[in-house]
Amino acid sequence: MRKLAWTTLTMLAILGGATLQAGAKDWKVVTIATEGAYEPWNLTKPDGTIDGYEPELLRNLCGRMKLECKIVTQDWDGMIPALQAGKIDVIMDALSITDERKKAIDFTLPYASTPGVFVSDKTGPLAKAPGSGTTIKLANDGPTPSMDDLRKAFKGKTIGLQTATVYEPFVVNNFKDEATIKEYKTAAEHDIDLVTGRIDLTFDDATYFTAAFAKPDNKDMTYTGPQIGGAVWGPGEAFGIRKEDGDLIGLFNAALTEATKDGTVRTLSLKWFKLDVTP
């Protein structure tokens, strides 16, 4: 009985301590979730450490904010629920700002703005789809006449997408009547299925593909059709933060504004993407 009482007391003490810690929000330690598998945005190095455009930018920002930043890796599809449940404080995973997501979470200022693009097999019939090598800007993700030529070219084909990305509504709205759409948990998985011929096309971030193409297995992958940018993907990619943590958003925004002004964002962008994605 006494033992039970002690255990209960200890547990109460631990719980009490935890509550106290959670209550005091003067932000010394921030937990940031990333996928660690979306090169060059974020990647896991062979020794297990996380690197890439976002982690390097984050380290720079955390220095400016004088915060201790703890990066954890987890699957993309559980990230927003994890943020809402308080398991993490910040999402950093090429997260595009959208109205739908704004209902659930808040965003910092964007730190990148990148186009999306179709990719197919270099040796296949879809390698030079209409509009290849051009850039177009779309205002929204609804069906648009500028996709008419591509719709014709992709009739009866299968398109692979990473689930729950900004690209999903655009591709579904424009191609669902002509093509079959398959959803994958990670971008690497749609790449495998493209290479093995299970699907004919994938659609994803152009900067993601620059890194994916560099892998020996993906040597036959090529961009096809126009690079698609503009307001369709929203203002750009930003950190996702809980709605009630406005103070944290303020800290990040101040640091981001500084880093954009002094050219840090541009330098890191050129280092990782070989192009300037500063919004």
């Binding site: 599809d77 927003i80 629920p81 809402q84 449940a85 739908e100 997501r101 209902k103 659930a104 979470i105 689930t163 729950a164 398959k182 959803e183 994958y184 948990k185 998985e189 495998i192 299925d193 093995t196 011929g197 299970r198």
Partner: protein, 249 residues
Amino acid sequence: MGLDLPFLFDTLRQLLAALPVTLALFVLSISFGAVLALGLTAMRLSGIGILDRLARAYVFVFRGSPLLIQMFFVYYGLAQFPAVRHGPLWPVLRDPFACAVIALALCTAGYATEIFRGAILAIPHQQVEAARAAGMSGWLLLRRMILPIGLRQALPAYSTELILMVKSTSLASVITVIEVSGVAQHIIAQTYRTMEVFLCAAMIYLVVNFTIARLVALLEHALTPHLRGQPLSVIAAAAAVPVERAALH
């Protein structure tokens, strides 16, 4: 968290639309898996060293490794080999649904083999000897004695395996098969309402598994008339018969 009934109904409707896929995955993989397991059980009990070893190795691999990894191997792993992509089996292995059925069947066969083996070994020796004394052997012995009694004894453990398999079908969503939990994750990705959607999905799995458990219990009841207490009316009727006639029975 307020209760949003229209959202719950809409979620349930979308999830139920995917239920046929979940059930098809289950029925097909259990069917193939059970046949495979019967073969493996026969190998295990054959008394022939090499067959026994092969079956043991199979059980070791498929029972000992995670189903998720087996599924990745069947779907993504095999496709890495050009020989597979240009081989005769590619039309089957290209299809995620077929890959999911193959992985699920291979895995359940490993578990079912051990369940079947245990059930057959548990058949009392006296009963087998009695059957042999009555002139049964070979297929007749197998058909009349070993299979019916073995099946009956395997049912309690096998029903657990069936229920585990219903839940395992949810892994098929990782290789792009759109079944109940895959749809659930898709809805969550769009609405960010984790709890409500997963609750609806869990309810569907509960109802399916309850039905399966009841069906197996019915089958078990039907197969074990000799283990049930006699109805009171029968006992009363027996008591009413004169002693010498009852003894003749």
